[in-house]
Symmetry: C2
């Protein structure tokens, strides 16, 4: 199991380590005689030589590792983002180290410490909560940081996200266009920029279009199906101010709302229309198929990686916010049919 070292290769090729090192590095191999080079390459292959990334990193002062900190790999929008990041970074010789925080700020911090110990060349954080701003600001003094998907408060950061306010506006407008006047939103934790942005977009449209916001004040602790259901149940239990349309901050909660509806014998979209967010797998196969907002996840990953590369290139990148556009996907869970409970006083 003892790995061959450069010294072994050099000995086998009958050259000195310096030469072997040069021959093996594409960027410098032109400095070495073609014949010698072949000899080294052959020896390396025969010995199964693999450069020791730790030794190299130690010497070069850079590890070639990029840390990626996410909240939860199970989150449906993450895989395409991770893929996008890797697609951009891999060919440049970087490797990504993915770590999860489970939405816990303490874990975020200790994870970043670990990544710092590894001497990652940059850190991508897509697990930020709004309150993590001070920490992020500190971190930025130690290593290039890019915030993916979620922002933190304050300026001066490098951010690649998509427009949550717009996404919510799209979704809510669609609901209003369908003729709904009493709307409610199912909110995710507002200390996450994605959800606070969505909340804002929803409220903007409700105000602009002169509709009524009948949301309950409660915010889901976790934006899960169970929570969405619980919240929706409260909404539906009302005798007045019952919404005819619901905007859920993500698909899981939308599914919960769907369940709550079915439980009390109401139909979607006939009685209540529902829009989700994220376009998670299988949402299009639900009954009814879920109208939702789709993030440009893959592009988001690539842009994030591109920004990392920019920061690493040495040229001073000024703080910036890249904001991609989400897309409304209209499916079966929204319709313009005016529901019974909301019928105007004088029959339509």
């Amino acid at each position: 199991m003892a790995e061959a070292t450069l010294k072994d290769v050099a000995r086998a090729a009958n050259v000195h380590v310096g030469t072997a090192s040069r021959a093996l590095d594409p960027a410098r191999s032109h400095l070495v005689n073609e014949v010698t080079k072949q000899r080294v390459l052959t020896a390396a292959t025969e010995l199964g030589y693999k450069v020791n990334a730790m030794a190299r990193g130690l010497r070069k002062g850079s590890s070639g590792l990029i840390g990626v900190v996410v909240g939860d790999v199970g989150n449906p929008f993450l895989p395409p983002i991770l893929r996008g990041i890797e697609q951009e970074l891999g060919p440049r010789g970087f490797m990504t180290v993915v770590a999860e925080t489970h939405e816990n700020s303490d874990v975020l911090q200790s994870t970043c410490e670990q990544l710092l110990a590894l001497r990652v060349d940059a850190i991508v954080i897509s697990a930020a909560h709004l309150g993590d701003e001070p920490f992020v600001t500190e971190l930025e003094k130690l290593v290039p940081v890019v915030l993916g998907v979620r922002r933190v408060n304050g300026a001066g950061h490098h951010i690649v996200t998509h427009d949550d306010v717009l996404g919510a506006r799209l979704a809510t407008s669609h609901l209003v266009d369908c003729g709904h006047r009493q709307l409610a939103q199912l909110r995710g934790p507002l200390d996450v920029s994605s959800f606070s942005g969505r909340a804002e977009g929803f409220q903007q449209i409700v105000a602009e279009r002169g509709c009524e916001d009948v949301s309950i004040d409660v915010v889901a602790d976790e934006p899960t199906t169970a929570e969405g259901k619980r919240l929706a149940e409260q909404l539906l239990a009302r005798t007045r101010n019952r919404p005819t349309a619901i905007f859920a901050h993500n698909d899981s909660m939308a599914v919960g709302a769907l369940e709550a509806l079915a439980d009390v014998g109401l139909s979607c979209p006939r009685d209540v229309s529902i829009v989700g967010y994220n376009d998670a797998p299988l949402t299009e196969h639900l009954e009814p198929a879920l109208s939702t907002v789709r993030l440009p996840s893959h592009a988001l990953g690539r842009r994030t990686a591109a920004l990392v590369l920019g920061l690493l290139s040495g040229e001073a990148e000024p703080p910036s916010t890249v904001q991609l556009q989400p897309e409304l996907i209209i499916r079966g869970s929204t319709s313009s049919r005016v529901p019974l409970a909301a019928a105007e006083p004088a029959g339509a």
Copy 2:
């Protein structure tokens, strides 16, 4: 951005690096005077000292990194596995490096090379295809390897998986118990042990229970919804030998089958029953809710990590196969109603 080194800490604490090193290592800090130790600890904190993992790894000859190679992070059974692995490994001071292969054996190999260059202490592979056996065997000579979820041919490996044959037997038995006699399976790529195991389990039950296997010979190139639909369409287009029950090798294909059914105006489970595999998110919210087989993903991750730890402990672990049990989840997509097309000659 220049990180503090141990030398800096030593200087600040007015001791020599060796002492600083000892003071900072919980395992050796008892060798150092309590007062000195506090002085070092304080200095370290003030300077924001973080050990350089590359330097330490280089010196110690081990990186504290565990490579985890997966096919596709988007695969629904993976997140719980990754979580299980991390839960077991994290507290032991290991960090995991996750890499994707996109089901490509060449990528698997180059990924492992990269991990070897990083000098990971062990590699977990859950992206193996049956044909990767020679490569895995070579790899095992260089680094401890644990195969998670998927096996490869041959003996001598360390494997933690679940019983695909049993899972398929459970699913198929359930279908037969429901009264079905003409069954078909939707196969995933048979060069993956999960799918070949499921294929085998299905065939065993069909034979044991004297049923008819009316599967088509084709195997899905990729086990996706689109492929599942395509395969199911062929099945349903038949005028004779049309199955009354379908066992899909995963939930995606099952959903495809559901779609195909709807497209030709057939109903599930009235006309055709369907069972999937994996219990992916949202499958329980489909219409009908999908009967499926659930892997003990989280436990699988923990056991995998435990085995890694075992291999790392130095005591020679003999090759072994840990096989956890899957669980059949019966929901709405399977029923005992004998479908029209399969009604016995003489009316019920």
